[in-house]
């Protein structure tokens, strides 16, 4: 189907985009890679009167190192993240996660800012972003603010971004040397979305016990989350013995989603299995 008529505006800067967003209010919608928005516009589920294209803004498309962090512009495509030598060297988990998103067409167009702002419950990035404790910069006409990944995702397709605001950057601390990591997903065969996706970051102590673990899970619930029960079950334990029992807590207290592809029970089981596998994959990569 054709989308209903809309006016296309190409923003010349973030400031320009913010002004248009303020002017058009409810009728305005930001266009990033368009791989979530355009399909729903073609079904006329969304009918924004004004599309404000921010995908070409060079100020949002760069990856740089700043103040000990790696800062990724919101309009950086998944492909650019997965192939960036800086990201691969210092944020291997994010590069691996980006490489598993959708297909090559999606990765060439889809952006990190668009993905997290849309907050699809089955998107891949949120799992890695939670495990990496990223900080998300949000700008509006009245200034900018920074939100921690864990406070960013609020509910189903609902984030901390308010009307009139734009996600401009994702800042991440490099993974410490010796840290093991892995992102594993159970892929929905048609769409490539994560029926469950698990991102793991694992730091080992001197005697190869788990010093610190961070686990982010997507696809299981209406919003991505940090699996704290798994993390605390691993602390101070011998990995070989603790993995199975810790991973069993992956869905604790979580209201699992249910759809025609996977019932809630099956999704919860996928989360437990993929958490264990992701931990097992991260372990040999970790150095004490």
């Amino acid at each position: 189907m054709y989308p209903s008529a809309f006016e296309y505006h190409r923003a010349s800067s973030v400031k320009d985009a913010l002004k248009m967003l303020a002017d058009y209010g409810e009728d305005g919608k930001l266009l990033a890679g368009g791989h979530s928005l355009v399909p729903i516009m073609k079904l006329r589920l969304a009918q924004p009167a004004h599309l404000i294209d921010i995908s070409g803004l060079p100020e949002l498309g760069a990856i740089r190192e700043e103040g000990g962090k790696i800062v990724i512009g919101a309009m950086t495509t998944h492909r650019a993240v997965e192939s960036s030598s800086l990201v691969r060297a210092k944020l291997g988990l994010l590069a691996e996660c980006a490489a598993l998103i959708g297909d090559i067409q999606v990765r060439n167009r889809g952006t990190i800012g668009g993905s997290i702002a849309h907050a699809d419950p089955a998107a891949d990035y949120p799992a890695a972003i939670l495990a990496l404790e990223a900080e998300i910069k949000i700008e509006s006409v009245s200034g900018s603010r920074t939100v921690k990944a864990e406070d960013f995702f609020i509910d189903l397709m609902t984030t901390a971004v308010r009307p009139g605001e734009i996600v401009t950057e994702v800042a991440l601390a490099p993974i410490s040397t010796g840290c093991g990591f892995a992102y594993l997903k159970h892929r929905q065969p048609a769409s490539g979305f994560a029926m469950v996706g698990v991102a793991v970051l694992l730091a080992l102590g001197k005697s190869r016990t788990c010093e610190r673990a961070r686990v982010g899970i997507t696809g299981l619930a209406a919003k991505p989350f940090r699996a704290r029960a798994v993390e605390s079950a691993l602390a101070g334990k011998d990995p070989a013995q603790a993995f199975a029992s810790a991973a069993a807590h992956a869905a604790d207290g979580i209201d699992a989603m249910s759809d025609i592809h996977a019932a809630a029970d099956f999704r919860a089981e996928l989360a437990r299995v993929y958490t264990r596998r992701a931990l097992e994959m991260a372990l040999p990569r970790a150095k004490a």
Binding site: L43, L45, D259
Partner: protein, 176 residues
């Protein structure tokens, strides 16, 4: 799509029952509800403006209550449609008094959703419904708390009076 679950509201069962039978107050609690009007005894028509992410739509339809046993049970029939799809279904609501001050609400329903909405929304429709139910119960809890602290109590007299007038008129017009 089957929906079921239970939740606890901190108010006596009679209060909850009154609230769940009061379209004026309900319309303020249902997420996106733009109007809820009385069509006849236990029959309402309403408009919902639902927006999740960029998917926004207006749905209008009818709501009917059956098998009413005050203050513990009713069955609800819903039939609505909008440009983006339709929703049809039924469900039951059971109120159990936990104690003098709190009530357990058990709900179970079977809902059919169709139209373009399903093409992209299939993956998230269950979660969207759960999210809206959660928002509704949270608003109901706040309303009941406000009632308990007496904010609504005084307004209630006028509301009841207004409601009896509306009912009287409704009956009057049906006879003709």
């Amino acid at each position: 799509m089957k929906l079921s679950g239970e939740t606890v509201l901190s108010a006596p069962r009679e209060w909850v029952w009154d609230l769940f039978n009061d379209p004026q107050r309900l319309s303020k609690l249902i997420p996106g509800c733009e109007k809820l009007e009385i069509l006849g005894p236990d029959e309402y028509s309403g408009t919902l403006n639902v927006g999740i992410a960029s998917v926004k739509g207006v749905y209008s339809g009818k709501l009917k209550l059956e098998d009413k046993r005050a203050p513990e049970h009713y069955r609800m029939l819903v039939d609505g449609k909008g440009k983006q799809g339709f929703i049809r279904g039924s469900g039951t609501l059971d109120l159990e008094a936990r104690n003098a001050k709190s009530t357990t609400i058990k709900y179970a329903g079977d809902v059919q959703i169709g139209g373009p909405l399903v093409q992209v929304g299939q993956r998230v429709i269950d979660s969207a419904a759960k999210m809206m139910l959660g928002q509704f119960f949270a608003a109901a809890e706040a309303e009941l708390q406000a009632e308990a602290s007496g904010k609504v109590a005084r307004q209630g007299i006028f509301l009841n009076l207004w409601r009896s007038i509306v009912r009287l008129f409704a009956r009057f017009f049906r006879r003709q």
